[in-house]
Amino acid sequence: MSDRFDELLGKVLSEESAVEPRAGLERRVMARVGERSAAASRWWMFAAWAGELAVAAVILVALLPGRPKARAVGHVGLAVSNPAAASLGHGLPSGAKASSRSMMYGILRPRSGQASESVPLSKTGLSSDGVSRGVSAERAAAPRRSGASGKQVVQAEEAALPKLDVFPSPVGLGEHDRAVAALVSSPKALAELVSLKQEQEEPVRVAAIRIAPLQEAQ
């Protein structure tokens, strides 16, 4: 019985292990491998192409002229058109220095060689010759929206405004500030201001002091 069992088991196992695949198995395997590898290489080519395109786009954006340095959506800017006023800088007389800080920061203080600086003054109403009121290009270029959805969009946009440079936020100009602004923007007044400053900076000329010798009391 034992020999018969071993023989039978050997026969069954050898029959199971002697199976043959359908003809052409190798060819089918190679065909599938070739098909998949072709698909993979196509994908890699596409990925490389997309990568190159992305790099080119980044370089193009970086080199694009006139790209705004900083986002200033919703800012109302003051631009000083008179270079003399800009060049004055902190050299103003003490009266001018005493004007409101907003005015000083907004109009007179040049930053890193720039003649003008964008200041968030929403209600200045300033529109004299030397000082022009400007709205940022992004806002001006934006299409006018109407209705509730437009309002929501504007609100969302304003909510996302960047942090302001000046704190507390400057408000409308006072009478004194207006007077200073007019003074700075008027060429005549500026010339007077310059001459006044020069006078102040000139050395004080004091006439020779002559002291008569004391007469001895006899």
Binding site: M1, S2, L8, E16, S17, R22
Partner: protein
Amino acid sequence: MTAFGREEAVGREEQFAALVERQARFVYRVAYSVVKNAEDAEDVVQEAFLKLYRTGAWRGMEEEKAYLARVAWRIAVGRVQRLPRREMVGGEDAMDGLVSGESSPEDLAMRRSEELRLRQLIEELPEDLRQTLRLSSLEEMSSREVGMVMGIPEGTVRTRLMRARAELRRRFEAAGASVRARKETR
């Protein structure tokens, strides 16, 4: 791609084709021993070679046969675990030989019946014993190679083989005794 790179790729493909030519049938048998179905076995072979080609692992194979068998075996086992188990005993060759005339029809029928019973018993073995038994029955697969394929020590392979055979013998004899008893009662 440069001309050198193209030549290298072509050479690589030729080497891989030679490997497929050399081992596809063996890999098929390994797969078949697990899935017991020609269609699934071929799918396993294709998947195994595709995996090897994609990963490039086929270039660094030290023991080619054992490595390939291991890859195919893992894929096949995964496939069997995913799919519902099929009835694989019997089949179209169950009645082969009945008309061969080597022995009397009664003898042949009895022999076929015993083979069927044994196949059934192999199927009913615990999975670890069944896999070990089938892999070891494949051509030129030593216990060491079977161990490498299954990720178990060679000693464990031998132990499992002994247990599988002993278990089969016990069940086969018990089944034979019950068949004889049924005959006698008729």
